[in-house]
Assembly symmetry: C2
């Protein structure tokens, strides 16, 4: 094989010897056969051998699945190690949710980030199922698989001229006290620059995975901030900035969120492919998806093909597609294509087949033993909606109202605030005739029964609705639609399913995905889940919803840390100021 030599960032002909779960030696091509005559040899046929991919910022729940199933699907794409920030399951079940993830046995190595912002805002602005506070953080810091504090985002709580004991400051100090050098502080600071950026870094939070520009790449690198580039950051300009300044030591490629239907076609290898397409040298992209991320997380036992390191490696036919022909995790064969000739040698392929962790049977076997505690399957507790829940009543006499509206775009998850004047008839706002969609959130943890309303522009253009409990980050039951009948139908269906995603029109459910675990995770094989989700996606698009990712676009209408105007179960929120916004601005 041509082995990737990490420090020279080049390939040379070598052979790699494996003993147990680790690499024993990297020797001149052909030497292993002589040196270890009784050992099975796989002839890589001159293919490229690179370390397994290491994805240090991602959320398993974005794929609507659980760790064991995620591992089964993503490992054959070449991702051998992930650092998961399980903040979605944490919003629903708190520490117990995170622990339920950690307890699952997976072939992939899964490390964890402590979700720093659960709930995303606070209990006065949104109702979540649970919170991660000082006590939960302390408990997680005792877990060996916890590598970092994840997604520290509220930079206003970190201003140094104001030494207030904020929640995030307490968590950061706790991490440093309990784990010292052995913990990383990961940030989330889109668009932060200049003095504000310096302030954020001053507290010790020195990584960012949000969208970057060519300018932010340079500014943040100069200030010592580690950059985790996900798909949306991989513009030609950003990649150029990385390459021009040789910032490979300071850059890791990450996935952040991968939808179930996308996961079937790749995971971190997709990001590597795109980085190369946008202009990065393949060797540099590999480096940024293996060695740099492993080192960032102090995972010094991987990310490089070298003796003593964990035997996680892939064989590639080319340096463009990054679709592995073979995947080895901890020395065990996870996948090997028929193209690779294993017949000449005593390599026991049959045992590999048996060992293999990527069979569908494997999924079912695992699913038979219930993966989560019983109550995880019964987590949706809210009223069954009636049609009148999807009406907007005004409590004073008027003929028109000026309303604040969330305008979504065709790309990304940010909304804009626009104001519209709507007619009022019989004390009811006529939002339907204005071409708007109504968003209604039902608090679903049985805590306070909150129901809130918002209006959305540029969502559905036809009659219909969608409903979901997969609504970031609190995962209350969100209904979006253009008529009360379909909205009621979708809400009732999701409530009955104990969580999921459904689309309805003309009084019928068009498509649905059950997400029975906490209302956010499916217990079905990913292949099935992906197909179902694809149908929901298609149905929503057919109802006129236009966005590069309609599922994510709708779900993040409820995310109160994503700009600019969002809806929680307490009502509308100006994300920047974190102030409440009235739906009805003026009665006319």
């Amino acid at each position: 094989v041509k082995v990737f030599l990490t420090f020279r960032k080049t390939f040379e002909d070598r052979c790699v010897a494996v003993k147990g779960d680790r690499i024993l030696a990297v020797l001149e091509a052909g030497a292993a056969k002589q040196m270890f005559p009784d050992t099975a040899v796989i002839d890589g046929g001159g293919r490229y051998l690179i370390p397994g991919f290491v994805d240090i910022h991602m959320h398993i729940e974005s794929s609507m699945t659980y760790p064991a199933e995620f591992s089964r699907i993503a490992l054959p794409h070449g991702t051998t190690t992930i650092v998961a920030d399980a903040h979605e399951i944490a919003n629903v079940f708190g520490l117990e949710g995170i622990r339920s993830f950690m307890e699952q046995k997976t072939d992939m190595d899964i490390f964890y980030a402590i979700p720093s912002s659960v709930p995303a805002t606070n209990e006065r602005l949104e109702t979540s199922g649970a919170a991660i506070g000082k006590e939960e953080t302390a408990a997680l810091l005792d877990c060996d698989e916890v590598l970092c504090l994840g997604e520290v985002m509220n930079f206003q709580e970190l201003a140094p001229e104001d030494d207030r004991e904020t929640k995030i400051r307490r968590l950061i100090r706790l991490c440093q006290e309990k784990r010292g050098r052995d913990i990383r502080l990961e940030g989330h600071c889109p668009g932060l620059r200049g003095v504000d950026l310096n302030r954020f870094l001053y507290e010790g939070v020195d990584a960012d995975h949000t969208q970057q520009t060519a300018e932010s790449v340079v500014e943040k690198s100069d200030l010592g901030m580690f950059l985790e580039l996900q798909m949306k950051s991989l513009t030609p300009e950003t990649v150029q900035a990385v390459c021009d300044h040789h910032l490979y030591e300071n850059v890791a490629l990450v996935t952040d969120d991968t939808m179930p239907d996308h996961l079937l076609h790749g995971q971190l290898n997709r990001i590597v492919r795109v980085a190369v397409q946008k202009g990065m040298r393949a060797e540099d992209a590999i480096y940024c998806a293996t060695y740099t991320p492993a080192r960032r997380m102090h995972l010094d036992d991987r990310g490089i093909i070298a003796p003593g390191k964990i035997a996680d490696f892939l064989l590639l036919n080319d340096l463009e597609e990054f679709s592995p022909e073979a995947v080895f995790k901890s020395g065990r064969c996870v996948k090997i294509s028929d193209e690779i000739d294993t017949s000449k040698d005593p390599f026991d392929l049959e045992s590999v087949e048996n060992d293999r962790c990527n069979s569908e049977a494997n999924h079912y076997e695992k699913a038979e033993k219930q993966l989560f505690p019983e109550h995880f399957y019964h987590s949706v507790s809210c009223k069954e909606a009636q049609e009148e829940d999807f009406e907007l009543r005004v409590d004073r006499t008027c003929s028109k109202v000026r309303v604040n509206v969330m305008q979504i775009g065709t790309f990304g998850t940010a909304t804009k605030v626009v104001q519209r004047i709507l007619r009022v008839e019989n004390g009811t706002v006529c939002w339907q005739e204005a071409g708007l969609s109504l968003a209604v959130i039902f608090e679903r943890y049985g805590k306070n029964g909150n129901i809130s309303h918002g209006l959305v522009e540029e969502a559905f253009t036809k009659e219909g609705a969608a409903a979901t409990t997969w609504s970031h980050d609190s995962h209350n039951l969100l209904v979006l639609g253009t008529n009360p009948r379909d909205m009621k139908l979708a809400q009732n269906r999701i409530r009955k399913l104990e969580g999921g995603y459904a689309a309805a029109a003309n009084g019928t459910i068009l498509a649905e995905v059950p997400l029975c675990i906490g209302g956010i995770i499916s217990d079905e094989p990913l292949e099935v889940l992906a197909k179902k989700l694809g149908k929901v996606r298609t149905a929503m698009e057919a109802l006129g919803y236009e966005n590069n990712n309609v599922i994510m676009s709708m779900s993040t209408l409820a995310l109160p840390v994503s700009p600019a105007l969002k809806l929680t179960d307490y009502g509308l929120l100006d994300v920047k100021t974190q102030n409440r916004v009235e739906l009805i601005e003026e009665y006319i």
Copy 2:
């Protein structure tokens, strides 16, 4: 100032704001004054501002001094952090010796390596004052300032085809069990290559600080071994190999050993200077002396000028000399030259003067309170030598003997084995007439009273002797000389001093350095110590000893892990095979 931007490896005009012990912000030039109007500003006059140097492989005892004094001298040279492997004091006092170092308050940040090889061989081959075994290692692993297992060297004990439970394997496993990711395994493997090198790395020991060649730099880097380059590795060819392959991520500059008289003139900054002289770009050399070493040791809070990081930085006039004009440690001014104009601003220089840790008064103040336990000052327990101890008697009738001789060279510490035929008269070997020097070791811990003899070629050419307890690594009392009278005199003097280094000729002590703490460390200010040691060095050279470092050359005659033939208190040892060698090979 021109600030070193670590990730772009370049300088740009910036200002650096400090708050407490950390860097608050790195801003556009001039911005700090506007932003923090009530804050003192030092005008760096366009000088270069770089992070403090980080030296991750060194021995404080090589400077014959103690941590507080080392800090006082080395800090103004710009070294703000060191990782010390205190294996000399450990050979004398074991865990108690290391703890006595750790307890000292220093302005410099001192981290520690666990000495993995104390004694260097084992108690059947040499007598040391103490040993560091499993128990001591476990105790040290509990110390937060311990970053690594230092100098793992015995690669034969690590062969993977032989799974024996060797001492070093036990220590490595203990480190991994107790500290997991948060520990580094540092190696010492001169000349190791090919399969042997792979074996060494397989156990997890993945750094080496011994002498490198251009070839070893490439081979070791390709195999994932981190390289710590000390002075003797900095040949033009080695530096070229690092530069050609851009191995800066995998290379740190280190000092290893700095003699007291050299320390007065520089520490890691000397190595940086030489790296640049040998062809490394100044920016790359700075990177390898600041960021790369800090990262290797997971010291993520330093090694870079960035907000949130510890405010350790230097001001330089140029990028050739690396003699700092100003040094700041944890935000406090340690040194500031009169060239830097601090008059225009409310910067309180007087308080800096008071704060300053580099005053000689400081030394005495600390020394007044006894730095070490009383028994550290009384550690030399061996017989007072008589002249007959320096005769070589044979116990059978013969007229000649063929002897094994240690031939020293004019550079470095390695010896060669040569055989000589010497005349025997009245049962005594006539070594003096053959132009040889006699080496005699007196076990000095009062354990067994061992006395051993060896012969040395190309040491002293004139009549005289030297004696020392600073004889690596066991630090028994070593006497080397060309006549019994001066050898006796030197031995008696060192014994009386409770340790030190002395040279004698014509029945007079020519020069001496008392090393009263454990026989290896001086309690005098380094300026005084250096002067005295310089005199011993000159005296030894005047007696015809020719070597680039006569002090080290003589002291390492007793080091049984340095090639090829060495002398312990048990006798001669073939270093490679670790087999005893008879002084008298044949009676003729």
